[in-house]
């Protein structure tokens, strides 16, 4: 009897393999990291729409949770790659472009398509004058603040004054949780963008400028003004960003420097009292450069079905498709002709990004991974021990020199 069971099991296995081989003919394999419920459903709907428009293509959408995805993508790209992968623009993309793991998709960016995009958006998915991916969503980073506790600060002095007022009322003005390190990097990014501008910022993160430079020191000097005034929430080193946001919703803190994703988790009763403001300007007459983390799609160089993959990427660039996707996820479409969802945070974010002079990503997406990790640890140490600045900068400078080798 056992043998019969084994035989029938084996037969069904063979049948399954045969089926799979048959399905591979016009199959487009898409590996996605959109594992949260809303984006997952939105992408499922988009894939169905793509199949209605392209009945000859059979899309297989594999969803992996975002943390495992980060660890697995290297194996996919170097082993048996899917036809389309979800990933991030900036250095995160370039680290796969350099060893030749991603396909050139410049052909998608016709003048007509280009006219629909922010010029900086194309720059973020380009390297060496060619495009390597398609941006589908991006979001602003800025001050999400309680309008019943403060008003939007326009200048550095406004920000310092707001801190002092809030402090006097017994609040911990700025909510931040640095247990996962990256929330501290947003402060570095913005101070550097506002004091030195995006071109300097990107060159610094690429490793072209020493970390002992006076302009870098000026960033830390401004940061220290906030630390010395006790503006940041206490115990931030053991708090996650979600735990820190709770302080804002409880009215114990007044604002935080965060991305658009915080809106989705704001409690309903607090939502009407929350508002968005750009990071204040630090120098008059300076251009407004902003952070705009971009999520994007790419085609592995060794994808089997590149033709259909290009069709899928062209589809995702379309204004009407980005509109449907970002309305469902309450995110901001990169295609400027896509109408944003009817939501004040989405609309404020869209206007904020459309009006920016130049764009950057997060520190840990613009800098190489190993350097970013060292820097992020340095930022957290600086927030806890500002007096150790010299030693921290020396560590960063050593890491930069290793980067340049």
């Amino acid at each position: 009897m056992n043998r019969r069971v084994a035989a029938s099991w084996f037969a069904s296995l063979l049948a399954a393999c045969a089926l799979q081989a048959a399905a591979l003919a016009g199959t487009l394999v898409v590996n996605s990291n959109a594992s949260d419920p809303a984006p997952r459903a939105a992408w499922q709907a988009l894939v169905e729409r793509f199949q209605r428009e392209n009945p000859d293509v059979d899309v297989r959408l594999n969803v992996t949770d975002h943390e495992s995805y980060k660890r697995q993508i290297r194996n996919w790209l170097t082993g048996a790659p899917p036809d389309v992968v979800f990933w991030f623009a900036g250095n995160r993309m370039r680290q796969f472009v350099a060893p030749g793991l991603l396909a050139d998709v410049s052909a998608l960016y016709t003048p007509a398509v280009r006219a629909q995009l922010h010029p900086s958006a194309l720059e973020l998915v380009s390297d060496g004058g060619r495009a390597w991916g398609v941006p589908y969503t991006w979001y602003p980073v800025g001050l999400y603040y309680r309008r019943d506790l403060m008003s939007a600060p326009a200048t550095w002095n406004d920000l310092l004054a707001a801190c002092e007022r809030l402090r006097a009322r017994g609040l911990e003005p700025i909510a931040i949780g640095t247990k996962d390190l990256w929330p501290a990097a947003a402060w570095f990014d913005y101070l550097d963008l506002r004091l030195n501008g995006q071109p300097f910022h990107l060159r610094l993160l690429e490793g072209d400028i020493p970390w002992t430079d006076a302009r870098v020191r000026s960033v830390f000097a401004h940061w220290r003004e906030l630390i010395d005034r006790d503006c940041f929430a206490r115990h931030h080193a053991s708090a996650t960003w979600q735990e820190a946001q709770a302080l804002v919703y409880q009215g114990k803190s007044a604002f935080s420097l965060m991305g658009h994703y915080v809106v989705a988790q704001m409690p309903r009763d607090v939502l009407p009292r929350m508002d968005f403001a750009p990071f204040p300007m630090l120098r008059s007459g300076f251009e407004r450069d902003e952070e705009a983390p971009v999520n994007s799609l790419h085609i592995p160089e060794r994808a089997k079905n590149r033709a259909d993959a290009m069709r899928f990427l062209a589809f995702v660039l379309r204004a009407d498709v980005q509109e449907e996707l970002n309305r469902a996820t309450l995110q901001i479409p990169v295609n400027l002709q896509a109408r944003p969802a009817d939501d004040r945070f989405v609309q404020a974010g869209r206007a904020h990004l459309a009006g920016a002079a130049r764009l950057s990503q997060y520190f840990d997406r613009d800098a190489r991974e190993d350097f970013a990790q060292t820097a992020l640890n340095g930022f957290q140490e600086f927030m806890l021990h500002p007096e150790r600045l010299d030693a921290i900068l020396e560590t960063l400078e050593q890491a930069r020199r290793r980067l340049r080798r």
């Binding site: 790209l77 680290q95 060893p99 996962d180 206490r234 115990h235 053991s238 640890n377 957290q380 806890l384």
Partner: protein
């Protein structure tokens, strides 16, 4: 009944083969592969480039490596407290009284709980904002510690780890005490040996195999500590509570430095093997005597 020597050697080989193949495939090969990888620079995506002992040279000047190594040694030293504490508990709980089974189960419970849960509980216990630990300190008129937020965070981690570790040692000793030879204890009593002398000269020598197991288990768990670090601090603040295992994980999976991570793994392996071989050697020598 005796078999020809050739057949017996052949059957010995045949019987050893499956285990040998498995051991070679799943233990020896990965180790060799890891050592090979540690001689390269590799970001996990591009081509590997040969750097010889470059990764090891970099380790020598890496401040975080020194911190992680020191933390592993601190962990090791403090875990040496677990066997005596476990023995003390076992001696207190070995008598038969009403409800003793329940009390023993309660003391053993920490070992049954998953390390991740232990880590979460202690992270909250030590939390500087709402943790019970700081409330107790304040109630006692002391300054709050916010233990996990400063350079001393490693001690918070080891304390959390000691809780289940002591429970495990206690169980080991309880089983050891159950197998003590009653006649020897009886004879010692008749000879007038009381509490301390009885413990030192009659009970402890009989528990020698248990001492060995307890020390061995504590050593291994101290060196491979990882889950508590990841759950409670992630190695922070600013890597100050990193141990070798968490630092190598960070280097490989967050920083994408596969070769450097492999070099860290090799050092950890060498450290572990060195300590364990020394312990085993001492045990074998003691048994031979």
């Amino acid at each position: 009944m005796s078999k020809p020597a050739g057949a017996s050697a052949a059957s010995t080989l045949a019987l050893l083969a499956p285990a040998t193949v498995l051991f070679a495939t799943f233990v020896l090969h990965p180790i060799a592969d890891n050592v090979w990888l540690s001689l390269h620079d590799w970001d996990g995506a591009g081509a590997k480039s040969w750097v010889g002992l470059g990764n090891y040279r970099e380790l020598a000047g890496d401040r975080t490596f020194a911190i992680a190594l020191a933390n592993n040694l601190r962990w090791l030293l403090l875990y040496a407290l677990a066997p005596p504490l476990g023995l003390t508990l076992a001696l207190l709980l070995c008598r038969t009284a009403r409800g003793m089974r329940l009390v023993r189960s309660l003391f053993f419970m920490p070992f049954v709980i998953s390390q991740v849960v232990v880590g979460l509980m202690f992270a909250w216990f030590f939390n500087g904002r709402f943790g019970l630990f700081d409330h107790l300190l304040r109630a006692a008129g002391l300054a709050p510690a916010a233990l996990l937020e400063g350079d001393q965070a490693i001690y918070g981690l080891v304390l959390a780890g000691l809780w289940p570790q002591v429970a495990y040692c206690m169980i080991l000793y309880l089983t050891g005490i159950a197998t003590l030879r009653a006649d020897l204890v009886e004879a010692a009593r008749l000879d007038g040996a009381g509490g301390w002398a009885l413990l030192r000269h009659v009970v402890l020598p009989q528990l020698r195999p248990v001492h060995f197991i307890a020390v061995m288990v504590c050593t291994v768990s101290a060196l491979r500590s990882f889950d508590l670090v990841m759950v409670m601090t992630g190695g922070g603040p600013h890597r100050s509570s990193s141990v070798l295992a968490s630092y190598l994980y960070e280097q490989v999976f967050t920083s994408g430095r596969y070769g450097y991570g492999a070099a860290l793994a090799t050092v950890l392996l060498a450290l572990m093997s060195g300590i364990i071989v020394t312990l085993l050697w001492r045990l074998l020598r003691a048994e031979r005597r």
